[in-house]
């Protein structure tokens, strides 16, 4: 595509009002002001002293902000207008899969019949919910090529820990004592953290020149002390691990299990399945692949699917289809797997997130989900090809859903680092890409446009990157070093913030 960039995807026109600092809610506080009124409860007021023994009573007043509803709504609305969000523009934050979340999923999650159900309601009153959970589990197993799943884990890292606990339970049940889990040096930071939390030691294997697991190095560390290998495929460089079936065979030869980190599942949806590659345990990030809210947007969900032989160890209770009743109506209930590792979440996981994910699956259908992966890969390769002359391409071969480039030459020639590029991109009306990850790429820029951005948005994004580099070449690094120029908060001192962490706010000072 040539010609001027269409305006799609840029948020430079967002109503970011002025540059005054938004006060904290405590600074808006006025003693005695309230955002609620309970005048007509008809419940008699009882002194706290009559209800709570003195030993359990606070000595000091709780220091909450005292604001009116009107002031509170204005405050949080102003804050939200100063935020970048997926709904505002393109968000190419590599590895995070910040795709646009279709509003139909929100509409489903808001249905009174789903949202209004108490989690302690008995199965007789929650047959609809149970059938939804059973159907989601079946769909996730079909997409990943696994036999059974738990929907409980609250997010990706919780899924990882659940997977490692399943790994531990499996080996224990087979009388095998193992101490190590192997992960590649390009892995997400959560992998070694989960391994440690799961009671194992980390063994790292290096990446070869093509950006994949170094097979010889892997063979050298594999023995019967290895409980499992954790991989993503495509890996964190956005490259497909072509030796995956060999890796799976070598893992299984020493009795180790193969764990699939679902971080990059978006790239292969409906095309190839982790179960068919030889993986035994798979976690999925519903907030990435299945368009449920990320981070501050709501609770997460990180279901874990397993091969048949691991199903008896899954967390419980699990939703299951029972025998139909006498009239042939489907019935659903709960069951606890025989060797279950127990609960990993109160109640049944973050259920409304699960409802959103099922809505997304059904809206797209099998062919639509395959199209998700195809377009995610196409978009990333379009950007990689377009920008390979603008930045360095350390692994210059077709990528999957994300492109890892490097600002090394830009830094060496003009003094502009990946951090500066990321900050300058905010001035262009885009969210920054992921930077300095994976750690094995110098000055890494990890760009993941996802399938939801149009060609016009990709063009606008590419032109923004090109302008940043052209500016550095023409007039040096000053503009980039001082960026962002147009955001409500300018460049923050990240080092000082980390060295002198202030985690609480004291309004009295």
């Amino acid at each position: 595509m040539t010609g001027p960039a269409a305006p799609g995807g840029r948020a430079a026109s967002a109503p970011l009002l002025g540059s005054d600092t938004e006060p904290t809610v405590f600074e808006l506080s006025v003693p005695g002001r309230r955002a609620w009124s309970l005048r007509t409860t008809e419940v008699p007021e009882v002194p706290v002293a009559d209800l709570v023994p003195v030993a359990f009573r606070r000595e000091d007043q709780v220091e909450l902000a005292e604001v009116s509803e009107r002031d509170l709504v204005a405050h949080v609305t102003r804050l939200s207008h100063r935020q970048f969000s997926v709904d505002l523009g393109a968000y190419p934050l590599g590895s995070c899969t910040m795709k646009y979340n279709p509003k139909v999923c929100d509409a489903v999650a808001a249905l009174e019949g789903l949202a209004g159900v108490h989690p302690a309601a008995p199965p007789s009153l929650t047959q609809g919910w149970l059938s939804l959970l059973v159907e989601l589990e079946r769909a996730l197993c079909e997409l990943t090529g696994m036999a059974a799943a738990t929907l409980q884990p609250a997010a990706g890292a919780a899924g990882e820990l659940t997977g490692l606990l399943l790994m531990r339970a499996w080996h224990q049940a087979h009388g095998s004592v193992r101490h190590r889990v192997v992960i590649p040096d390009s892995a997400h930071g959560t992998n070694p953290a989960s391994v440690t939390l799961g009671g194992y030691q980390v063994t790292t294997v290096p990446t070869d020149e093509r950006g994949c697991v170094d097979l010889d190095a892997l063979c050298r560390v594999l023995d019967e002390d290895v409980a499992g290998i954790m991989l993503t495929n495509p890996n964190t460089l956005g490259l497909f691990e072509e030796d995956i079936t060999t890796i799976a065979r070598k893992a299984h030869d020493v009795g180790a299990l193969l764990y699939y980190d679902g971080a990059n599942l978006n790239a292969i949806l409906g095309v190839v399945r982790p179960g068919d590659m030889g993986f035994d345990i798979v976690h999925m990030n519903l907030h990435k692949t299945f368009a449920t809210p990320h981070g501050g947007g709501g609770p997460g969900a990180g279901p874990v699917a397993v091969a048949e032989r691991l199903a008896p160890f899954l967390p419980g209770p699990r939703p299951v289809a029972l025998e139909p009743d006498e009239e042939g109506t489907a019935r659903f209930g709960w069951t606890v797997p025989p060797q279950s590792i127990g609960r990993v979440h109160g109640f049944h996981g973050n259920a409304l997130v699960l409802a959103r994910a099922l809505a997304y699956l059904l809206v797209n259908g099998g062919d639509g989900l395959r199209r998700v992966a195809e377009l995610a890969v196409l978009n990333a390769n379009w950007l990689r090809t377009r920008l390979r002359g603008t930045f360095d391409a350390p692994y210059d071969r077709p990528c999957m859903h994300e492109a890892v480039l490097s600002a090394r030459t830009l830094r060496d020639r003009f003094g502009v680092r990946a951090l500066d590029v990321a900050k300058r991109l905010l001035d262009e009306g885009f969210h920054a890409p992921t930077i300095y990850f994976p750690l094995i790429v110098d000055e890494a820029l990890m760009i993941e446009p996802t399938e939801t951005e149009s060609l016009q948005t990709l063009e606008a994004l590419a032109q923004a990157f090109e302008r940043i580099v052209a500016e550095a070449a023409a007039s040096g690094p000053a503009e980039a070093h001082a960026a962002p120029h147009h955001t409500p908060v300018r460049r923050v001192d990240e080092a000082r913030a980390a060295r002198h962490l202030v985690a609480t706010y004291d309004a009295r000072h």
Binding site: G189, I435, Y436, F437, L439, D442, E494, A495, A498, R499
Partner: protein, 126 residues
């Protein structure tokens, strides 16, 4: 990039300065530049015995958390306590006030297996 001639270097970007029967250890100028602004340094316990190539501590920067590996094995004799308050010393003075710890090598001859300044420069320029 600074690479003092009188030090020895590991391929993991630690430096070693020999002083009598003890060696002082830190991370190189190249390493601190690659890590970026250091915000926290986890030093080993005095008296701990470390394996050659084993974990000696961690350096956390605004970019990442990286392990520091023991360039030689031995007993930890002293650690740089000022890093707790001033981790930025690793950036401003990596070969001086930004040292990490002192070891008594269990086998002093292993220091000779480390790279000299010219070999280390060749490693990072390669």
């Amino acid at each position: 990039m600074d690479t003092p001639e009188d030090l020895r270097y590991s391929t993991d970007h630690e430096w070693v300065r020999v002083a009598g029967d003890r060696v002082r250890v830190g991370i190189t100028d190249y390493a601190q530049d690659a890590l970026g602004d250091v915000v926290f340094v986890d030093v080993p316990a005095v008296g701990a015995v470390v394996e050659p190539g084993g974990p000696l501590g961690e350096v956390e920067s605004t970019k990442s958390v990286s392990e520091v590996y023991a360039p030689v094995g031995g007993e930890v004799l002293a650690v740089n306590t000022s890093l707790a308050e001033r981790p930025e010393l690793l950036n401003s003075d990596p070969y001086g006030d930004g040292w990490i710890c002192e070891l008594r090598p269990s086998d002093p001859s292993t220091v000779d297996n480390l790279l000299d300044a010219a070999a280390y420069r060749a490693l990072v320029d390669g």
